[in-house]
C-alpha cells in the first residue's frame, strides 16, 4: 500500500521533461494506473517521478492529413468519449471503452498504457490492427515507429532510456471499413484473457483488406498476418480465425491454460471478424 520514497518533478515543457528523464533513476508518470499500483506493491521503486501532466500539448486529439493524432496524455475516457475518435476511428474508441473501469479510464492515458506494455492490455490489439504510428521523443529528437515495432515483448517496448511516448497516430477510416474489438475478460482484474481487434475493408462481402491485432494470448501483442492473408484470399471468417493460434506460444495461468487461451483466441477472432464485417456493410 505504501511506495518507497521518491522525488517528484514537474516539468513545464517537453524538453525539460526529456532532460529530467535522461536520469536513469527517473520514471515518467502519466495517469499512473499501471505504475502506482506497482509502486505500492513495491514491485517498482523509481527514485524520481517525472509528472508529465504539466507538459503542454500532450492531451490533444486532432485530425491532420487523413490521420488522427492522439496526444500521449489523452485519457482512455477522452478517447472513448471523443466524437472525433468515435466517428473517424471507432476501433480505438472501442478498445479504450474496454479498459478497466470508469475511474481507471478517467485517469489512465494512452501513452502510459502502451509504454507499460502489459501483455493483457486492450490498446495494443487495436493499435496493431490500425497499423498505428507511435511518436517517441528523446533529447535527440522525435522518431516514429509502427505498432508492430513498438511492442517488443512483455512489458518491453521500443521506447529507449530517456525517451517518451508523445503521440499515437491512427488512420481516419475510409468508407467501407468495419472494425471491432472483442475481448474475453479476466473477471477479477478486467484485463483481457484474449482480445482481438479486427479491421476490414469489404466490397459486397469480399474482403479487400484485413488487419487483425491480438492481445492477451502471448507475451506480446501481435498482428495475425496468417489470418489476414486468409481473409484477403477469400477464406470464410471461421476458417481464417482458426489460424490465429498457429505457431503461437500462448500464455498459461490460473485464469486460462494455454490450450484454452488458444481456443478463445479463435472464438474471439471469429467474433471480431464477423462484427467488423457487419460494420463494414
Amino acid at each position: 500500500m505504501i511506495a518507497h520514497p521518491f522525488d517528484y518533478l514537474t516539468p513545464k515543457s517537453l524538453p525539460e521533461a526529456l532532460l529530467l528523464l535522461a536520469d536513469p533513476d527517473a520514471k515518467a508518470l502519466a495517469g499512473g494506473m499501471s505504475l502506482i499500483p506497482m509502486m505500492k506493491l513495491r514491485l517498482a521503486a523509481p527514485a524520481k517521478l517525472v509528472d508529465l501532466r504539466g507538459v503542454p500539448g500532450l492531451t490533444s486529439i486532432s485530425e491532420e492529413s487523413g490521420r488522427l493524432k492522439i496526444g500521449a496524455l489523452a485519457t482512455h475516457f477522452d478517447i472513448e468519449s471523443s466524437r472525433l475518435v468515435r466517428a473517424k476511428c471507432p476501433l480505438l474508441a472501442m478498445a479504450a471503452a474496454h479498459i478497466g473501469d470508469v475511474q481507471v479510464r478517467n485517469m489512465g492515458t494512452i501513452g502510459g498504457s502502451i509504454a507499460h506494455a502489459d501483455p493483457a492490455a486492450d490498446y495494443p490489439a487495436a493499435l496493431q490492427a490500425l497499423e498505428a504510428t507511435i511518436s517517441i521523443a528523446g533529447v535527440g529528437g522525435t522518431r516514429a515507429v509502427s505498432a508492430a515495432e513498438f511492442f517488443v515483448d512483455t512489458f518491453t517496448t521500443a521506447v529507449g532510456p530517456g525517451e517518451l511516448v508523445v503521440e499515437v497516430s491512427v488512420p481516419v477510416e475510409a468508407a467501407g471499413t468495419g472494425t471491432s474489438y472483442q475481448k474475453c475478460l479476466q473477471p477479477a482484474s478486467g484485463f483481457a484473457i484474449v482480445g482481438v481487434a479486427a479491421r476490414l475493408q469489404a466490397v459486397s462481402g469480399n474482403i479487400s483488406m484485413a488487419r487483425i491485432g491480438v492481445t492477451g494470448l502471448s507475451g506480446c501483442s501481435f498482428r495475425a498476418n496468417g489470418v489476414e492473408a486468409l481473409l484477403e484470399s477469400g477464406s470464410d471468417p471461421q476458417a481464417a480465425a482458426a489460424a490465429i493460434a498457429n505457431g503461437i506460444d500462448a500464455n498459461s495461468d490460473i485464469h486460462a491454460s494455454a490450450e484454452y487461451r488458444l481456443h478463445l483466441a479463435r472464438v474471439y477472432a471469429a467474433k471480431a471478424i464477423r462484427a467488423a464485417l457487419a460494420a463494414a456493410r
Partner: protein, 161 residues
C-alpha cells in the same frame, strides 16, 4: 533504500475549501484526505486499484484516490463524500441509497455514491446495464448490488424530475 526527500507544498481545494500542506511526494491522496485532513469518508479497501472504496471526484472526474499521489492533486478541485450534501440537505443520490437500502456495512458506500454521481453527471437516465457498467469499478461484498442499482435508478428519476 532510504533517501531524504524534500516535502512538497501543495494547495488543494477540497469540498470547496482550500487546503495548503507540505507533504511527502509518496503520500497517497487517500492518506492525505484521511490522515492529514481527517476526511475519513473515503475508505481503503485494496491496494490494486480494484475496489473503488476510495473513489472521490478530482476536477469532476471519479478517480481512485489510493492510486494517486497527493502531489498530483496540487491545484485540483476535489469532492469527497463529505462535500456532497449541501446546507445539511442530503444529495438525491445519498437519499436514494437510504430509501432503497443501498448500504449494509457501509464501507463501500462513499465510493459507490461518488461513482454513482459520476455516472449520473454523464448520463442522467441510465439503463440498468449502463448503471452496472458505470459502477463496475466499485466492489461491494454485502448487497449483491441489487439495491444499489435500485438506488441509482431512483436517484436518476428524482434528479430528472
Amino acid at each position: 533504500m532510504m533517501i531524504a526527500i524534500m516535502r512538497r507544498a501543495i494547495a488543494v481545494t477540497i469540498n470547496g475549501k482550500r487546503h495548503s500542506n507540505e507533504v511527502e511526494p509518496r503520500l497517497l491522496l487517500i492518506h492525505y484526505l484521511r490522515d492529514v485532513l481527517g476526511l475519513t469518508g473515503p475508505h481503503i479497501g485494496c491496494e490494486t486499484s480494484i475496489c473503488g472504496a476510495c473513489t472521490v471526484l478530482v476536477n469532476g472526474k471519479a478517480i481512485k484516490s489510493c492510486t494517486m499521489f497527493a502531489v498530483q492533486a496540487n491545484g485540483a478541485d476535489v469532492l469527497t463524500i463529505e462535500g456532497l450534501a449541501s446546507d445539511g440537505n442530503l444529495h438525491p443520490i445519498q437519499n436514494a441509497f437510504w430509501e432503497e437500502h443501498g448500504a449494509q456495512c457501509g464501507y463501500c458506500t462513499p465510493g459507490m455514491i461518488m461513482a454513482s454521481k459520476q455516472l449520473l453527471d454523464r448520463n442522467a437516465s441510465p439503463t440498468e446495464e449502463e448503471i452496472r457498467h458505470g459502477l463496475e469499478g466499485n466492489l461491494c461484498r454485502c448487497t449483491g448490488y441489487q439495491h444499489i442499482v435500485n438506488a441509482v435508478k431512483s436517484a436518476a428519476a428524482k434528479m430528472g424530475a
